[in-house]
Every structure is written in structure tokens, then in C-alpha cells.
Symmetry: C2
Subunit: 423 residues, 2 copies
């Protein structure tokens, strides 16, 4: 010890979208939920957090940079994660470089953390879920922690509840647990990302800068004032979770879509049953957002009815971005045709920057450029051909994706291997 | 019998607004609800139905005219009301005119019915409630029925559920009842219209022609698909009803407002929890209505918080008209200032046709004409001064009102006393 070496690990972690929603805590400090939840992990190629963690005897204090900007680690949620992971740190030896860290040394050593999202942090795409999952996963690797992903998820959970579900790929269940200490409130993988490869996930990111009702305060108010929340948690979700697990197991899209849409709506119903009701935005500059949400819901319901069996499921978190899950590539191509018909880009936006992620779907939809978008016919199932250019900022097309991975290529590290500072 | 005489009665019946909502039937034919509900009766001077019923041996069949236009009586709901009231008909004698109808004659005699609403029928202002209550009340008088208002309410209920609450003035409770035959599902008066005279009720009727999700089908879908509805009916409403009765008894406006707003929001939450969710409008021409509802709710919540104690309660039925209940004349004057600031009339509308009902409130608000409306300052409690001219079609200012009355002035009859046809 005493030398100037820097030891680093870099990890990449996906974000996730709940299809059975988490809303309401039974313990705010430990972040213990009032019900189980189920999510699908999104392909990290399109939405992920990359985090480099470094340790060095030269570091004077714990420091963190998010998207290149230093930020405070003093918050309780960061402190809880750091404390819990340090407790589990073990001996680390790099014989080649002659570095050895004893278990007891970890208490004294400081950390540098750099994190980067490949998607807009403010856009309400579960950046804190991917972020805390990546922090905990990377630190576990750096510190040679022996706990498995489920056990790590119980630590990430203390940073941000939904983060625990980002420790796995595919479909993931956050088991609420029963213990007061939260030790059994953790995530398990239901199926991996290969199990249901047909699915396509299209996210419509709306133009409005999201003005979040903080989830933490929103949940607290719902727990305190909504008489429907406890019923949902105790009676509805337990049954729905079992049904959703079955739908996922058997790739039963009709059941999956019905349950996901119903649960998204019920979560919003609980928000409306909160005093005062939570609308996700309450100033007039966000007027169009709520209308847009209702439009999407009504439209998907109408389209699904016209097809006889659901083609698309919708789900909304505590923000206006619509997450649409299509049953297969064909349905996704039809969906993107419909979305681009009703929500075309503004005239100064090209298609390449309007549909991010998996762009192969554009070819299936016969959309090679803006000319093709303009030539789209109104969908037969809807009477109205009114368009809303500019209402959507951009779309992201993605798939169910894999869980956290360690990046061995040092070039992808966000911290300088010599100084331990952001590159 | 055999002569050409016509015997008539004319009645006037108020409409009512639920402050604990009725949503969901346990029996669709008898119209038996899944929970109790409580309403306030609105002053019939501003909103009422007038109905003239006539009987004559010359009438060939039962006929009805609504607002001057003949309509069919073949619907089950009309038939149920007519059958039930005929069962209870008794001997009627008009010695002066030498008319005598035996109890058994009523089965053979036909009726003419003319009904008129002093407010727009399509505007979603509970016209069917006032209408069926008035029909049953007028027929009961014509047929010398001995049943009291509560017993009559159980008949009106079979025409339209909420009609049973229009048989009384003041605050009224519809007791859901337990019997399979519906005999104990009826309305009782909690307090009369003199009990809480401070209240002012301002209804904002929106421009959009209401496109109703039929309440009947909406309720049915909620009962079948909403997992929150049964919980609301069995667990929430029973407690809330007791609290609301107390709030009314003690004129406790803070509790009254909290309960009324919470129950309106919960009713809408159940609609959102229905599959597919009920939004009250689902085409794009009604875009602004939902936004407007959220605006009103957010605004009232904000204002109430800024005042420290609630000044105004809001409640919405299955339509976009906001019903705002102000604690007293002062709060009503402040409310009307705010409403007219944010929702001014279009330039071609004069104030007299923009605020209907009790116009004395305009003087309290210092609003003698459109010039005064234009000169209004933005309310201090709200940051935004954005106005929405044209969003509201008109306002109605009213009060808690009295129950049904018989009109003895023959000039007010809607049927010609000689022919029994509409005047």
C-alpha cells in the first residue's frame, strides 16, 4: 500500500421496464415494496449504463461523475449501496502488477466512480435503475464479492427499487420478501433473453421535458392516502404475478398484453386515487402529454380489437413515455408504420435520428426515408387521419436484452487508468 | 267511463349530483347498485324537469313527449316504472267534474306524458335522474298512490338508478339495500335544503358536445373487469358514506370537500382500471376535455392548499362537466372570479348568457359586465395566467334545492287539458 496504482473495473448494465408495476414502499429506507413486480430487461445495445469503478491508495475521498459531471455521493441511497458492498469485499490480488488488497483494507480505500448513460438521463427511461445496478455490479467485481446476482440485487435495491431488476437479462421478478431487514427482497430471473425472442419493444419518447412527480414522494402519498393501493398490493398483484409468470413461460402474448395493459392502467388508477391525485404533470405546458397517453392507450386497444387478438401491449411508468411491446417482427413493423403515420418527425428531423436502436424494423415496414413516411396511408382500423407532428421527440426500437456484463476492453473504461479521473 | 275527459297532474323535480358516487350494478334489470351513494339536490329553479301526466278514456295508447318531441315508451325502463306505479294506483274521484276512476280501471286506461328540462338534455346534467323521478312522482299524484317518497324512489330507481335520489331535496342517500327484489334499495333524505344553506354550486358546462360512454355499459364493464371496483364497493364506500353523513350533519366543509374530491377521483380511478379503460371520450375531437378536467382538479387542489382549508370541492360524473361546490358565498365569489379569469367567454358571448342560474354571485364578485371580467387579475395562488376562452360553454350557479313539487297552476301544464296532447 502507499503506491500510486489504480485498480479498475468497467461494467455495462441494462435498464428495465416493469410489466407488473412497483408502486408503494413498506419501508422507505430499505426500499421494500408492497408487492412483487415483473420487468423485461431492455437490450443494452440500445439502452444501458456503463460504469467504471476504481480504487487507489492515492484517492482522497469517494468521488463520482455522471455523464462527465461530478456529483455528490452523500445521499443516503449511495451511502447504503457503498456500505453494503464494502461489507462484502474480499481479498483482491493482481500478481502481475504486484497489487494486493486485504479484506480489511477496503474500509480505508476510497473509490472513484464514473457512469455514463447511452440515452438521455432526464427522459424517464429508468436511468437510476440501470445506474445503481451497474454501480453495485461493477463494485462487486472490483471487490471480488462472492455474492450472486440475486444477492447483489438486494443491495442495488437500496439505491433505487427498480435497480434490483436490472441485475438480470430477459424477464425478471422482484420478490417483495417478508423480512424486516429486507434480506429476502431481491430479484430473480424468470427466463433469459433468448426465451421470448419474438418480442419487439418500441419506446415513444415525448417532446416535453419530463417534469417528474418524484416517484418517492408519489409512492409515499399513494401509500398514505389511496384506499385502493393496499387492495391492489394484497389482492390483485399476487394473482396477477402468477398469471404473468405463466404468460411469459408459455410465450402467451394475448395474456401477456392483457395483464401488462391492465397493470399499467391500475397503477395509474392508484395514482388518481391518491390525495391530491398524481397526474405526472400539473402545469399547463404539459397539456398535450396526458392527451397523448390516452390517445396511445385508446388507439392500441382499438387496433388490438380490430385484429381479433392483441398485437401490441402498452405500459407507462410514472412519466409520459409510452412503452409498446409488439408480439413479433411483423406486428412491430405494422406498429412503426402506425406510429410514424400519426407522429411523424418535424420536417427538419431525418428518419435516422428519429428512430433509434434497432433500425432493421424500418426495412420491414417499407420505410427507407422520410418520403416513405409521408406516403403512409391511414391505418384502416382508425377513422381519424389527424397527425401530431412533433408530439414525439424520437422512438427507440429495442428487444428483450441481456443482464450486466464486465467489459474487459480497457479502452471502454470511463476513468483514466493512471489518474483514476474521468477521461 | 267512456266520456272524453282528461285528468292531469304536473310536477317539477330537481336533478342531483352525487358526492359519493354510484358506479356499478349488482342487478341490471332492477338497477340495484353495488354500494350506497349520497347526493346533493340542485335548486329546481335552475335545473329541473317538469312533467305533465294525463289520463283519459279517449287515449288509445301510452305516449310520451320529451322537450316537445314524441319518443318511444317501449324501453324496459319506462315499462318497469309504468307497471310498478300502475300496481299501486288507487281510486281517484273528481266530484266537481264527475270523474271517477276505480282502482281496477287503471290497468285499461292509457297515459300521456310530456316532459321538459329547463337545461340542455345532452349536456350530461343528470336529466334522466330528474326525468324518471318526475315521471314517477307525477304519476303517483295522478293515481292517488299512497306510497311515500322513499317508496316512490324505489320505483324511479328502476328507470334510472340516480333518479331515486331526486325524490328529495337537500342531501339524499341511496341505500343500496340487501333484498334480491330491490324493495329495500331506496333513497332517504339525510337533511333538507335548509340545513346547509351556505353552499354554492357552480357547474362548468364544457363546449364539447358530450359523447357519452353509456353509463350502463361502462358500469357493466367496470363490474366485470375492474379488480378495484369490488374493493371500493365493499370496503371503501361503507366507511366513506358514514364519514360523509357526519360531514353533512355537522356542516364540516373540510371533511365534505376531502371526501367528495376523493370519491370523484376514485370513481375515475375505477374507470381507468376497467378493461379497456373508460376515458369518457375517445376520439381526438375531445382532446381538450380530459386536459380541462385535470386542470380543474389540479387548480382546485392548489387553491385549497394555498388557503389552508378547503374553499371548494370538485366532483365529476361520467362526463366532462365540472361541478364545483363552494363553502359559502364569499368562496363562491372568489371561485367565479377565478373561473371567469381562466375560462372567459368568447368575445361574442355576453355575461348574462355565460353565467346562468343564481346571478347574484356576480355582484359579490364585482363582475357587472364583460369589462370587469377582462380586468380580472391573475389569482395569486397560481403561477400561470394562461387563459382558455371557449373551453367552457357556460356556467350555472346554483344551490342545494328542494325536492319534487306538484304544480297547481294549470297554465304550467305541458299538455292541453282538452286534448291531452302537447300544448
Amino acid at each position: 500500500m502507499g503506491e500510486k496504482w489504480v485498480l479498475m473495473k468497467t461494467a455495462q448494465t441494462p435498464t428495465n421496464i416493469a410489466v407488473i408495476k412497483y408502486w408503494g414502499k413498506r419501508d422507505e429506507t430499505l426500499i421494500l415494496p408492497v408487492n412483487d413486480s415483473i420487468s423485461v430487461t431492455l437490450d443494452p445495445a440500445h439502452l444501458c449504463t456503463t460504469t467504471t469503478v476504481a480504487v487507489s491508495p492515492a484517492f482522497q475521498q469517494d468521488r463520482m461523475w455522471l455523464n462527465g459531471k461530478e456529483m455528490s455521493l452523500s445521499g443516503g441511497r449511495y451511502q447504503n449501496c457503498l456500505r453494503e458492498i464494502r461489507k462484502r469485499a474480499r481479498e483482491v490480488e493482481d500478481k502481475e502488477r504486484g497489487i494486493k488488497i486485504e479484506k480489511k483494507d477496503w474500509e480505508k480505500l476510497h473509490l472513484h466512480i464514473a457512469s455514463y448513460n447511452n440515452f438521455p438521463t432526464a427522459a424517464g427511461l429508468a436511468s437510476s435503475a440501470a445506474g445503481f445496478a451497474c454501480l453495485v455490479f461493477a463494485l462487486a467485481k472490483l471487490m471480488n464479492v462472492s455474492e450472486d446476482e440475486s444477492q447483489l440485487s438486494a443491495i442495488a435495491r437500496q439505491g433505487s427499487g427498480s435497480a434490483c431488476r436490472s441485475l438480470f437479462g430477459g424477464f425478471v421478478k422482484w420478490i417483495m420478501g417478508k423480512e424486516d431487514d429486507g434480506s429476502d427482497s431481491l430479484a430473480v430471473q424468470l427466463v433469459d433473453e433468448k426465451h421470448w425472442e419474438d418480442l419487439f419493444i418500441i419506446i415513444a419518447v415525448v417532446s416535453s421535458r419530463q417534469k417528474e412527480t418524484s416517484s418517492t414522494s408519489g409512492m409515499r402519498e399513494s401509500v398514505e392516502t389511496s384506499s385502493l393501493l393496499q387492495h391492489r398490493a394484497k389482492e390483485v398483484v399476487p394473482k396477477r404475478t402468477i398469471q404473468m409468470e405463466e404468460a411469459i413461460q408459455y410465450r402467451d402474448f394475448a395474456s401477456f398484453a392483457k395483464l401488462a395493459c391492465a397493470d399499467s392502467n391500475q397503477f395509474h388508477a392508484v395514482c388518481l386515487d391518491t390525495l391530491p391525485p398524481i397526474f405526472y404533470m400539473n402545469d399547463t405546458s404539459h397539456r398535450q402529454v396526458l392527451v397523448y397517453i390516452c390517445w396511445i392507450i385508446s388507439y392500441v386497444e382499438k387496433w388490438n380489437r380490430s385484429e381479433g387478438t392483441p398485437q401490441v401491449a402498452y405500459t407507462f411508468d410514472a412519466g409520459p413515455n409510452a412503452v409498446l411491446i409488439a408480439r413479433d417482427r411483423k406486428a412491430a413493423a405494422q406498429l412503426i408504420q402506425r406510429l410514424l403515420f400519426y407522429f411523424p418527425p418535424k420536417s427538419d428531423t431525418d428518419l435516422d435520428s428519429y428512430l433509434l436502436g434497432d433500425k432493421t424494423i424500418l426495412k420491414d415496414a417499407g420505410l427507407e426515408g422520410l418520403e416513405d413516411v409521408k406516403a403512409l396511408s391511414p391505418p384502416p382500423e382508425n377513422g381519424s387521419a389527424q397527425k401530431y407532428p412533433g408530439d414525439v421527440s424520437y422512438f427507440i426500437c429495442t428487444r428483450p436484452g441481456k443482464g450486466p456484463i464486465l467489459l474487459s476492453n480497457d479502452k471502454l473504461a470511463l476513468l483514466d487508468p493512471e489518474t483514476g479521473l474521468p477521461k
